[in-house]
């Protein structure tokens, strides 16, 4: 496959590059896509918006030949096409920039780039192409490096190069900015803009961030429950309108708005936080500043350093969370949040530094020590470290407090069920029975199982890591309410999030993490986009 120079055409020549008509796909009784129409023109960036489970990813999988459609027509430059395999999609010039799971670490950049082609391998040519494309689009990367030595941003460049090398007529990007800083995101959008304007390509941008959709796209299509509910020129619509279409009802500009990424919000956060915020407490601008109150912080991380495989992931991290407040830990993905979450799950032992709960250091080498000391955690990836999918709801609820559901020798199923019934009622866990495996619950209910288990131990500290990721709006609202209530009840809440709007809406203080360090802590009311942007970029505030 070669890189052909396309004749430049003035932007605005609008022909549909891709038309989807009546696409339908059902998984058993679940209809993922129902009569979906989508038209993408050459020369435009088309935003595809929708909640989790709205059918965006199924639609894209159909487009890429990964999933066969049940019904519907795909017209590529006016010609109907089948797209039965990824190769066919590739041959048609449909290219996808995947966010995760598509680069192979131990292989080099050039090997990754030519993966999926056919024909003989020409190393020299592949390297040259990587460099040419890199130069042309401002995506510099060394073709002979192993991919697992690259940073997240560099990997994204490789993904883009891999895709652009195939000279795609339609480029699909799936949540491309989640691992990028704001500056990197801006750069990406500049590249995309150039692609569509000067090279007669079309871009489909999948995102759940309204702000991103409104600034970067020309047209936008909103999917809800497998159907197209709204289509408009981006200029002629508003974030509020898009949010309303996405959810299907009026959206309040409070927590719910934050759930949808509806811009930074007025300061008077939701009920609960404001009340719980200690009015007189000084907001330390520098994390290491000792608290002046006599009460020790409920959770204190002191000079926590974690190295994995010789790389410092957390670098002398300091953070305080006091009883009754919500502290938001904000930053771009991949700056140490995952490791911090693992640390607070008891999965990682720091090379240096201490974690203190109510002033007493916790011995992290002892499994379950954090839990016993009163720390509850809703982990970032609940399937990995929050639940055991193939165990029942009752078992998952009881697993951290087996002593409470045991007789002298044996486990008591009766007690386990009683506890589960009570928690399910209290936390609105919707499940056919307490013996149902957690695997068959919805994401929101799985998350409620985790939260119920953690709250049932009456923790003094609650850590919620990306607690709303992958949930629908109803479940997100529920989660926000519970976090606020916990704080109001005097629990110290640490909210680790990559969603600025979420942090702004819930937290009274925002700590920014960059490259494993806290670069600054601000009261939410003083947090401006500029200041946060500087901190996220690693400029210590």
């Amino acid at each position: 496959m070669t890189l052909t120079e396309r004749t430049e055409q003035p932007a605005g020549t609008r022909r549909p590059a891709l038309r989807l008509r009546g696409i339908r796909k059902a998984y058993g009784p679940v209809v993922a896509c129902d009569a979906v129409d989508l038209t993408v023109h050459t020369g435009e960036i088309h935003g595809l918006l929708g909640e989790n489970g709205a059918g965006k990813s199924t639609l894209m999988k159909i487009l890429l030949g990964l999933v066969p459609r049940d019904d519907g027509l795909i017209l590529h430059h006016g010609r109907p096409v089948a797209i039965a395999s990824p190769h066919e999609a590739m041959a048609l010039g449909l290219g996808m920039v995947h966010q995760h799971f598509s680069l192979i670490g131990p292989l080099t950049v050039w090997e990754n780039v030519i993966l999926g082609d056919s024909g003989r391998i020409d190393r020299a040519e592949a390297c040259a192409q990587v460099e040419t494309i890199g130069k042309r689009y401002g995506l510099p990367v060394d073709p002979t490096t192993r991919v697992d030595r690259l940073s997240a941003g560099e990997r994204q460049r490789v993904e883009l190069i891999k895709c652009l090398r195939r000279d795609p007529s339609v480029l699909i990007l799936d949540e491309p900015t989640s691992v990028l800083t704001q500056a990197e995101s801006a750069e990406l959008f500049t590249v995309l803009r150039r692609l569509v304007q000067t090279e007669e390509r079309a871009v489909i941008l999948i995102s759940h961030k309204l702000a991103e959709i409104t600034t970067a796209t020309d047209r936008v299509t909103v999917l809800r429950r497998g159907r197209v509910v709204f289509e408009a020129r981006t200029r002629q619509t508003s974030p509020q309108e898009l949010a309303r279409q996405m959810v299907g009802r009026e959206v309040s500009l409070r927590a719910e708005g934050a759930a949808l990424g509806l811009g930074a919000l007025p300061v008077d956060g939701p009920e609960g936080t404001a009340a719980a915020e200690p009015a007189t407490a000084p907001d330390p601008a520098v994390p290491a500043t000792p608290t002046t109150t006599s009460e020790p912080a409920a959770l204190r991380l002191r000079d926590v350093t974690v190295t994995v495989g010789g790389i410092t992931v957390l670098d002398q991290l300091n953070l305080d969370v006091r009883a009754g407040e919500i502290v938001g830990l904000y930053g771009v993905e991949g700056n140490g949040q995952a490791t911090l979450g693992d640390l607070l799950c008891g999965l990682v032992v720091p090379a240096a530094g201490t974690v203190e709960l109510a002033g007493a250091p916790v011995d992290l080498t002892r499994p379950g020590a954090l839990h016993r000391a009163g720390l509850g955690i809703v982990p970032e990836d609940r399937h990995r470290s929050g639940v055991v999918l193939d165990m029942s709801v009752a078992e998952n609820l009881a697993m951290k407090s087996l002593g409470d559901v045991s007789g002298r020798m044996l486990l008591s199923r009766r007690k386990m069920h009683a506890v589960a019934q009570r928690l399910a009622a209290e936390f609105n866990i919707v499940t056919p029975s307490m013996d149902t495996p957690v695997r068959s619950l919805s994401g929101g209910n799985q998350q409620r199982v985790v939260l119920a288990r953690e709250m049932s131990a009456n923790p003094a500290v609650l850590v919620a890591a990306q607690p709303t990721r992958g949930l629908d709006v109803g479940a997100i609202e529920d989660m926000y309410q519970r976090l606020n209530r916990a704080a109001a009840d005097g629990v110290a809440v640490l909210l680790i999030s990559t969603e600025l709007e979420e942090v702004m809406a819930l937290a009274s203080r925002i700590a920014v993490i960059s490259a494993g360090r806290i670069t600054g802590v601000l009261p939410t009311r003083e947090a401006t986009a500029e200041r946060l942007g500087m901190l996220v970029g690693g400029v210590t505030g």
Binding site: P86, F101, S102, P106, L115, G116, D117
Partner: protein, 304 residues
Amino acid sequence: MSMSDNISTILASGIRLSLPLAFAACGEYLAERAGTLNISIEGMMLGAAFASIATASMTGSASVGLLAGAVVGLLIGVVHGNLSHRIEINTFVVGLVINALVLGLTSYLITISEFDTHQVAQVGIPVLRDIPIVGEALFVGRWPAFLILAIVPLTWWLVERSRWGLELRAVGENAQAADVTGIKVNKRRRQALMWCGVLAGLGGAYLAVGEVGSFNQNMTAGRGYLVIAAVIFGAWRLKRTLVGCALFGLADAMRLALPALGVTLNSQLLIVAPYLLALLTMLLFAAQHREPRSLGQPFERGTA
């Protein structure tokens, strides 16, 4: 016998004993790079050894027997591939069952059949065979032995330079990502197992119609596991894997030759040496993580 004669004899026998391993190891290496830790290689070798003698006996041609061995190895590869990378039964379970089945079946059949002795022709390379000490070992042998000279570079080229091999490596390192890129993960793994079957079949058949000339019950006697040990010893690199095969063959040759030379060295120690070496390699070099990352993990779409 002089010292150099002894060395020459042990060297020659060591090479002969390591050749079946080397053929099979090329196959196992390739299968493991694609992510299958193929324990049915024992069954492939044993089944092929039996098939080669049976076919040679029926057709009268040892060379046809050799071919039959490769075909049986291929068939076992196809069966294993389909059971574990299509129907998705765990690969170790499939391997155990295949090994038990092949062992039972060949033992059963050899007990009720009579086969003639058949051996392929011996060839020697003029001039070079007269080099002292190594000449006899390196330049005289049953003709299929010289196939290894083609198979090793071919295997290397396939894995490291061909597109197919790039895809195999991708599948072995990260099956989910390879799938997203449009590579048919399970298909590549099945293909790798087929290639592994052909080479393991050649190895087993070479043992039977090449070196021994007949088949006896459980003839391979764990050589397949030895091949797995060689790949581990080689840390998933072809060159080191072959060095492992040579070492293991030499250890075996010494075990057989030393008593005749009046040297007493514990035979059990020589038998376990390969396994010990493999274990030690893993213990000492574990930190290097040379192992393909998807090794032994079944692939299902949507599991990551």
